[in-house]
Symmetry: C2
Subunit: 279 residues, 2 copies
């Protein structure tokens, strides 16, 4: 990849997992971690997620490649504080929203920065959730790359290819619209489903009756509220739009069920089945 | 289990899978299959799901144990046609709804019948979806068993224990209320989500951006429309009630997002997280 040192800010699921993979991929490269949470630091140390831990965040900006694996609101705060970096430094974020982040990158570091969104994760969070292989075989979206330096684009391409990822390119506005429908709104639905069932059902019935369908549909309702609050905050308008569309579909089902329109319901389910041709 | 012959009506996912497991568990017992779909018969034969195929359904009623693994509407039609069976014959259904089925069992065969709902399955259907081990480690609900004969209760208990299932007992009215919240409404949500995304997004974006969350949440939208139409038909009132409750949760989220009530959204997600303590 041509970098001698990699710094990771945030040693949770995303940062810890990339640390584990990069240590294996680049044994000659120094992988330095930073986290503002003392428990995370201790866990990251015990789990050997990085080669060493930085005493302060300035050490990260001295690395050839700095990876921001923190909630999207924190990305915006932190990039405003970066200064005094080399022209060859590459900085990437891995946030689930892209438009506000891209708009917030200071001009002084714009060519250093590459905005990325690896489409991977689990419902778990923190250093103990980190797993090697989290990125392998998944897609990563690179946004507004024409504003990143050529060297930086090359570093990031090499990084994600080495991790076994499929790279796609998109402008940050389109990314946030698509991500609202395919990722953010489904998370809101999962949270709503979990709350509905827990408010209406006793734990004993839930455990007894939960089949694979409910387990799969409620899994991401266990995701971190801190992380998701900031995603919903940054992609608020698109998420409201996608929720509106989802509610129209559910209302259509409710009306057909109320009217006992079985032909309509069967057609509606058959339409949904066609997802099978894609995924 | 004390039965010499087992008949299975319907050789799809549920019937085919139980056939495979019973052939292994009871090599001395004759496992006979019946299906009204000629393609299913051919597939079941090729896949060796049962020992032999019956020429007509009457052969199934001559078995010591008859298993109805067909859509819930078909269960109600078929049980009205059963007659001339031995006092010791056991008949079970495996439908996802229980109240209307229990109410439809003719008096003449009421003690022969045990109403059951194995909480297992996949989004796939038909004989080719059958897998050995589908039942192992899962829960099965037995409903209104006080109306079943003692011998029949014993046969069914032995059957499901042999399959490695955890048996729970419930009245059919309660079953249908719980199943609406924990299984039927989540299926409606998955169908609605799949339709929303497919109507708003192009296939290329869906494939590129779908992470584990969306894949899990849309998986059961691939389920059989024929099977689910009859479930929604039979459990219509409870499903309407559960959809109403779900919409209240989603409306609450939408309002908080619209009002930028971030503390409210964080608390709402933290409430949903507590599902983690149960499942």
């Amino acid at each position: 990849m041509g970098v001698r040192s990699i710094g990771i800010v945030g040693l949770g699921l995303m940062g810890g997992s990339i640390g584990l993979s990069l240590k294996k991929l680049y044994p000659q490269t120094s992988i330095v971690g930073y986290d503002h949470n003392l428990t995370h630091i201790k866990e990251a140390k015990d789990l050997n997620l990085v080669d060493r831990l930085a005493d302060n965040i300035e050490e990260i900006w001295q690395c050839d490649l700095a990876i921001l694996a923190i909630p999207v609101d924190s990305i915006i705060s932190i990039i405003k504080q970066i200064n005094n970096i080399s022209q060859n430094t590459t900085i990437i974020d891995m946030g689930s929203t892209k438009k506000l982040i891209c708009d917030s990158i200071p001009d002084a570091i714009r060519s250093n920065f590459v905005a990325t969104h690896p489409m991977t994760g689990t419902e778990k969070s923190g250093p103990t959730a980190a797993i090697d292989g989290l990125y392998n075989g998944k897609t990563v979206v690179l946004c507004d790359v024409d504003k990143s330096g050529e060297h930086q684009q090359e570093v990031v391409k090499n990084l994600y290819e080495a991790l076994g990822m499929n790279i796609i390119y998109m402008d940050s506005t389109s990314h946030d619209q698509h991500a609202a429908f395919i990722s953010h709104m489904p998370h809101a639905i999962s949270y709503a489903l979990a709350n509905t069932v827990m408010r209406q059902e006793d734990p004993k019935s839930i455990v007894a009756l939960a089949g694979g369908g409910f387990r799969d549909m409620s899994r991401i309702a266990k995701s971190s509220p801190v992380m998701w609050e900031s995603i919903f905050r940054q992609n608020r308008i698109n998420v409201l739009d996608s929720v509106k569309h989802f509610k129209q579909e559910l209302d259509a089902f409710e009306k057909m069920l109320n009217d006992e329109n079985w032909d309509g319901i069967k057609k509606w389910m058959t339409d949904a089945n066609s997802l099978h041709d894609i995924l």
